[in-house]
């Protein structure tokens, strides 16, 4: 697959052969002008590639642009209901979910405000809400965190983890290397007109990011549930508490993991939830510079 913006233009991306897994968080990195945004637009189906094809895109696909200065003559809720219907929801359902997501992002009081009167950050919350209310199977975030306040950023981290836990593929670009650090299943790097899979080794792995320990107790002799959100590190207790298991996950996944444990059949009992102190790594702190990371070329 390759793309250029006009028939005589420069190839922005070329010779890309890539398969994105389901139920995965995919990070895209790369310098300015290396085609990150173009790759995301192609993945989201906003543009068709100039050569080659993209197949198997889920029916529910949502995209959040970096800036959403939507000077549209609609209120926040009105816009979200329209978008919900375009995503295939019924009007009542779209209205319910619009209210729910605006509340989650702390923008409930702006539900009836015209989009043109919203602040930059609140507009961005509307853009994020339109993507999440569809519960998409492919969610593409092009620096969607830009402009959001801290609480909303954390909420978006959690919402992303929820989508991945529900089986969706989430592809994101963010200039902050600590964004969802340690949670990405796959890191892609754009550059030289191609896309490479960045492999992590213990020395060069991206930031581990904040982690949360969840201690849970299963029914006696119960096996560990499979496919837990966030692929937690499991440590089974010994001695007096053989059924006590410690799960360590990237913090954005903690709510999704708790939900999975509490709704497992039979359900698990939660004993303790605590943040894990991130161990200091030797040497200068991140971000990792691109040259430090070995790359496996996936391009032809």
């Amino acid at each position: 697959m390759g793309h250029r913006h006009s028939p005589a233009g420069r190839w922005v991306l070329r010779g890309i052969d890539l398969a994105l897994p389901a139920r995965a968080l995919v990070r895209v990195e790369g310098g300015n002008g290396t085609g990150k945004s173009t790759l995301l637009r192609l993945l989201a189906g906003i543009e068709a590639p100039a050569e080659g094809r993209i197949t198997g895109r889920p029916a529910r696909t949502a995209y959040v642009p970096e800036r959403f200065p939507a000077a549209l003559p609609l209120t926040a809720t009105g816009y979200l209901v329209h978008l919900g219907r375009i995503h295939g929801l019924r009007t009542a359902e779209a209205k319910r979910r619009a209210g729910e997501w605006l509340t989650r992002f702390g923008a409930a009081e702006h539900a009836r405000t015209p989009l043109a009167e919203l602040s930059k950050g609140t507009s961005q919350k509307v853009a994020v809400a339109q993507a999440l209310l569809a519960a998409p199977d492919l969610l593409v975030l092009d620096e969607a965190w830009t402009g959001l306040d801290t609480a909303a950023r954390t909420e978006l981290d959690r919402a992303v983890a929820e989508r991945v836990a529900a089986g969706a593929t989430v592809v994101f670009v963010d200039h902050d290397p600590r964004r969802l650090a340690g949670a990405a299943d796959l890191t892609l790097r754009t550059g030289d007109g191609g896309v490479h899979r960045a492999t992590a080794t213990p020395d060069t792995a991206p930031l581990p990011g904040p982690r949360t320990l969840i201690e849970a107790e299963g029914p006696p002799g119960a096996p560990l549930p499979q496919d837990l959100p966030g692929d937690p590190l499991r440590e089974r207790g010994t001695g007096t508490a053989p059924d006590l298991v410690g799960f360590t996950v990237p913090t954005p996944y903690s709510d999704a993991l708790l939900t999975a444990l509490l709704t497992a059949r039979p359900p698990w009992h939660i004993r303790r939830v605590a943040p894990v102190d991130t161990p200091e790594r030797p040497g200068p702190p991140e971000p990792i510079r691109p040259s430090e990371q070995p790359e496996v070329s996936e391009t032809s």
Partner: protein, 222 residues
């Protein structure tokens, strides 16, 4: 598709940008159509004036959402369908306008030829008038679609192309719009006229082809 049409229609209705082409059309009709004039000539005039108005409406609908909002809708529904919805919304609004004006012209005009010697049956005039209006709306939609994003992006070129295209669509021999309007005007002189069925089919084909091409291009150029 219904959701996209509702979205585009809501944007158009609330933006109030439709007011300018509507007022222009009403003003042109007020000058060109007066009560008691021969019905066929008035119908022809009303139909011809619809062509540039439809092209303008298409420009409004295609350009009314900012790129970020368009990208969001395109990810949800596909860029082709988003573009098609904009074209259909504009064409639909123009078609409603065409229906209303045809009905008004039929009511206020005199059912006779130019020299007043021959009677013109109203039902036959209505059919011919509706088909001629349809031809002009479809041709206007094709001109509008081909003279704006994604074919022409610069505003100046876009407007110039729409004006020139509308003019050419009305005067070029072989254009369904010219054929349909001429049929009405000549009918008004001679008293013999047929509904422009072939021209309507031609207009449907042209508009469909133009829509197909620009929707494909909309996906390619984002």
């Amino acid at each position: 598709m219904t959701a996209l049409l509702r979205y585009q229609a809501a944007l158009l209705a609330r933006s109030q940008r439709w007011l300018a082409p509507l007022l222009l059309y009403v003003a042109v009709l007020a000058v060109g159509v007066q009560s008691g004039q021969p019905v066929l000539g008035s119908l022809g005039f009303a139909a011809a004036a619809l062509l540039p108005v439809t092209a303008w409406a298409v420009h409004l609908c295609v350009g009314q959402d900012p790129p970020a909002a368009r990208a969001v809708a395109s990810a949800a529904a596909g860029p082709r369908r988003v573009h098609l919805a904009a074209l259909l919304t504009a064409t639909g609004c123009a078609a409603v306008l065409a229906g209303v004006t045809t009905a008004v012209v039929l009511l206020v005009s005199s059912p006779a030829t130019d020299n007043g010697t021959q009677a013109v049956p109203r039902p036959a005039a209505a059919l011919a008038g509706v088909l001629a209006a349809l031809c002009c709306v479809l041709l206007g939609a094709a001109v509008g679609a081909l003279s704006t994003r994604p074919v022409l992006r610069r505003r100046g070129w876009s407007v110039a192309a729409a004006v020139l295209g509308s003019l050419l669509a009305l005067v070029t021999t072989g254009s369904p719009a010219r054929y349909a309007v001429t049929a009405l005007v000549t009918g008004s002189r001679t008293g013999t006229f047929d509904p422009p069925v072939l021209a309507s089919l031609g207009a449907v084909t042209l508009a469909g082809a133009a829509g197909f091409v620009v929707c494909r291009l909309a996906a390619r150029r984002g």
